[in-house]
């Protein structure tokens, strides 16, 4: 069986991959150990999907067998022609979908008023999709967004298949060729069999969503830590809900959908769902734990259950029930240093792969195009009070580079505000370029066919200048590097209940919540002087009685005990 690998390379080193079997895969792994320039190096692809078989989504048989529809018999020459066929029956789907953030990449925050969305945001990974759409927008659910000319009103540009192909035969590639040296990357690819994928549509499986969401930040598990390819077929220990042999939830089991709009926004998180269960007829538009498990999910007839239910107002479910992240054998990136990017060997970009993750794959610790990385697995998350409100450092935000790492997506929350709960986050640390003169972040022009693209010229100065000018952002002309943090609320990889963290993980000195202050927590906190005084009193009493006893003993020889009572 010929399994086709997804191929999206963004280095000058050019490779082609088609994985034939596990045996050839192993052989390839050996080859991968060779320095850059070897014939095959699938790691240049940020999505290496070796298992292209779809996951089972067990909703029972559909009422429609799409392979029987005349309009889907093809032949189709490309994606948009499939979309037209889809929309000929699903007449309103295009209009619905165009409201979705998967299409617009725009989000107007209702409370902060900030304009968010991947279209304009800065992040702490490849820093900006803006101006790099030719590469980045392959994870937009559309066809061909490579620059400003993309037509957001043309329904044929919607990519139905990336979410709905259930054959595993569909894949996406960058929307533009990229730098000269990159164009060869797309050679030797097995073409998509459009009529086959068009006839295999269904509700999305985990790998459909995962095709983008597992690979955020430019690689498997890189961004979130609780989302990576191990969730395609997780076991119970890794994720009790998605357990392929058990509950086998699809993403949309929780991320409930209404007219192609999904519940569960990371820009505007529902940090505490106080409504709990939605009965039939009531709201169903949330992805919260409480919407299935209620506000008091632990047994109400046991002391421990009652105590745990008492935690729900202050502790997010995820805090106890996701003991660690990146548990499935795939590492997550924890640290990224752009400063070291741009080194070449014989004029060629190269990479070093010095991290081996639990599933045996080697991960790049250096790439000329991106800099140096650190990884983590089985990571204890970072915890903080969170009211659901993210506050972004956008391209317009000015900051003081001297006052510590810039929080690219800081968040609000406080122990005493009555709404916040303690949430787990993956905290990403990055050193990335900023505009030294204006104290703002920068857009880098990374991907393109021109000479200004960093992934080609390895010249930060030029790439930043081009990135800023082409998007009409004021630029002082001088860049430097600044430390940044980004925070990724953790909510997947929910462990089975027996693996929830024990009480002492937090209720102890030097426990998980050691760094959080402003509230009293038994087991962790005490009043230091009261303790000192208390131990002195106890010690004093003990010493006193010992001394008294000793005296009694000494005196008893001299004065034999008289009459007692």
């Amino acid at each position: 069986m010929l399994l086709l690998n997804r191929l999206n390379l963004f280095s000058r080193v050019v490779l082609s991959v088609s994985v034939l079997s596990f045996a050839t895969l192993a052989a390839q792994a050996n080859e991968e150990a060779k320095p850059a320039g070897a014939a095959v190096d699938s790691d240049m692809n940020f999505r290496i999907v070796t298992d292209t078989k779809p996951s089972i989504r067990d909703d029972g048989e559909s009422t429609a067998d799409h392979s029987k529809f005349e309009v889907l018999q093809g032949p189709f020459e490309d994606g948009p022609s499939v979309t037209k066929a889809c929309l000929s029956c699903h007449t309103e789907a295009g209009r619905h979908f165009m409201k979705s953030i998967h299409w617009t990449w725009e989000y107007d925050h209702p409370t902060t008023g900030q304009k968010l969305g991947k279209k304009t945001l800065i992040n702490t990974f490849c820093t900006n999709a803006k101006g790099n759409e030719g590469m980045c927008a392959q994870c937009n659910a559309g066809y061909g967004w490579k620059d400003e000319s993309f037509d957001f009103t043309n329904q044929s540009n919607i990519d139905c298949l990336v979410c709905h192909d259930r054959s595993g035969g569909y894949y996406k590639t960058p929307n533009s060729a990229g730098n000269k040296a990159c164009s060869v990357m797309f050679e030797g690819k097995q073409p998509i069999q459009w009529d086959k994928v068009a006839q295999s549509v269904g509700l999305p499986g985990r790998e459909n969503c995962g095709a983008c969401h597992f690979y955020g930040g430019g690689g498997d598990g890189v961004k979130h830590g609780d989302l990576d390819s191990s969730l395609k077929r997780p076991d119970r220990k890794l994720d009790v809900h998605m357990d392929a042999e058990g509950l086998n939830f699809a993403c949309t089991t929780c991320h409930v959908t209404r007219q192609h709009l999904w519940a569960g926004s990371r820009y505007n998180v529902m940090a505490h769902d106080t409504e709990g269960l939605g009965l039939p007829g009531e709201r169903r538009d949330v992805a919260t734990c409480e919407s299935c498990h209620s506000e008091a999910p632990h047994p109400k007839t046991e002391l421990v259950g009652i105590k745990l239910n008492g935690h729900v107002d202050k502790i997010a479910c995820q805090t106890c029930h996701i003991p660690t992240i990146a548990r499935g054998g795939v590492a997550t990136k924890t640290d990224w240093d752009w400063r070291t990017a741009g080194k070449t060997k014989n004029g060629e970009g190269y990479k070093e792969k010095e991290y081996t993750q639990a599933n045996g794959e080697h991960r790049a610790t250096y790439k000329s195009i991106k800099g140096s990385f650190k990884y983590g697995e089985n990571l204890v998350p970072y915890y903080d009070w969170f009211d659901g409100q993210m506050v972004y450092t956008t391209i317009e935000t000015q900051f003081d580079p001297a006052s510590g790492p810039v929080e690219i997506n800081g968040f609000k929350g406080d122990a005493d505000d009555g709404v916040s709960r303690i949430w787990p986050f993956k905290r990403m640390h990055t050193v990335q370029p900023y505009d030294k003169g204006n104290n703002t972040m920068v857009y880098m022009h990374l991907w393109g066919e021109d000479d200004d693209a960093y992934w080609g010229n390895y010249d930060f100065g030029r790439a930043i200048k081009a990135g800023m000018e082409r998007n009409s952002i004021p630029y002082s002309g001088e860049y430097d590097f600044v430390e940044t943090y980004s925070f990724w609320p953790i909510t997947h990889m929910v462990a089975p209940k027996e693996d929830a963290i024990s009480c002492d993980e937090c209720h102890s000195k030097q426990g998980r919540l050691d760094g959080l202050d402003g509230f009293y927590m038994p087991g962790r906190d005490s009043f230091s002087w009261l303790d000192i005084l208390g131990y002195l009193v106890l010690g004093g009493a003990l010493l006193g009685v010992l001394l008294h006893g000793l005296l009694r003993k000494l005196f008893s020889k001299k004065y034999p005990h008289g009459e007692e009572s």
């Binding site: 008492g310 009555g418 002492d504 209720h507 087991g523 009043f527 009193v537 008289g562 007692e564 009572s565």
Partner: protein, 235 residues
């Protein structure tokens, strides 16, 4: 002899000191209450310090579970015992008695040089003046400070929604911890005091068997012989 005269004679006997007898001065309920309270307080102290983080012999969850159940049992026990104290009139044992300083002087000095205890144990006077004072303090300060703060602590989830809950919890934890330390000191001294009897284990044996060798007035003795209201071992 007139009945009246008889009565006078007996009245006179009441004042008269009599012989020593082995009588049950601690009834079965008193001993049950004493020892179960001791066990509970020890348990509460140990688990309390465990969840406080003083020692790590118990994990937090176990410590909280044991502490909570023991506290509930202790509260029930205290409610019963308070009821018992009042219905039996035993509460009078805890009333202030004269001679506290004599007792203090005895423990500070007299006990070393072989002086007799300034206080005679009697059927209606089981505790010396210092004991009464200490137990009264226990019952109106240390105990209530612990159970009152403990109940508020236990019901945190009922008031955690108020804006003052953060400060409230801190305050309650403070009071509870402080009272626990005082309770600990009390227990240490109390346990030591039990070794100051005729033999180091005399008082402890008394609290186990209930019997002590105490002086009875003739009237008390006659009353006991007549009614068997109090168990007496020596005949």
């Amino acid at each position: 002899m007139s009945a009246n005269g008889n009565l006078n004679l007996e009245n006179a006997n009441v004042k008269k000191r009599g012989g020593k007898h082995y009588v049950m001065i601690y009834t079965r309920y008193e001993r049950f209450w004493h020892w179960s309270q001791a066990l509970l307080i020890f348990t509460l102290f140990f688990t309390g310090l465990g969840l406080h983080g003083t020692h790590t012999m118990l994990d937090f969850r176990t410590a909280v579970v044991i502490h909570t159940y023991a506290a509930l049992v202790l509260i029930v026990l205290w409610v019963f015992t308070t009821f018992w104290n009042f219905t039996t009139g035993q509460w009078r044992q805890y009333l202030f008695k004269e001679g506290v300083f004599k007792v203090i002087r005895f423990y500070a000095y007299g006990i070393l040089v072989g002086e007799p205890h300034p206080y005679r144990k009697g059927l209606q006077r089981k505790q010396n003046a210092l004991q009464s004072l200490a137990y009264m303090g226990f019952m109106i300060f240390i105990g209530p400070a612990l159970w009152a703060s403990g109940i508020v602590y236990l019901t945190y989830d009922l008031w955690s929604g108020y804006s003052w809950a953060g400060t409230g919890l801190m305050l309650i934890a403070f009071v509870h911890t402080a009272a626990a330390f005082i309770m600990g000191a009390f227990v240490i001294i109390h346990v030591y005091m039990t070794t100051t009897g005729k033999t180091p284990t005399h008082y402890i044996k008394t609290m186990i068997s209930g019997y002590d060798n105490i002086e009875l007035t003739e009237a008390e003795e006659a009353y006991i012989r007549e009614t068997h209201a109090v168990a007496m071992k020596d005949d």
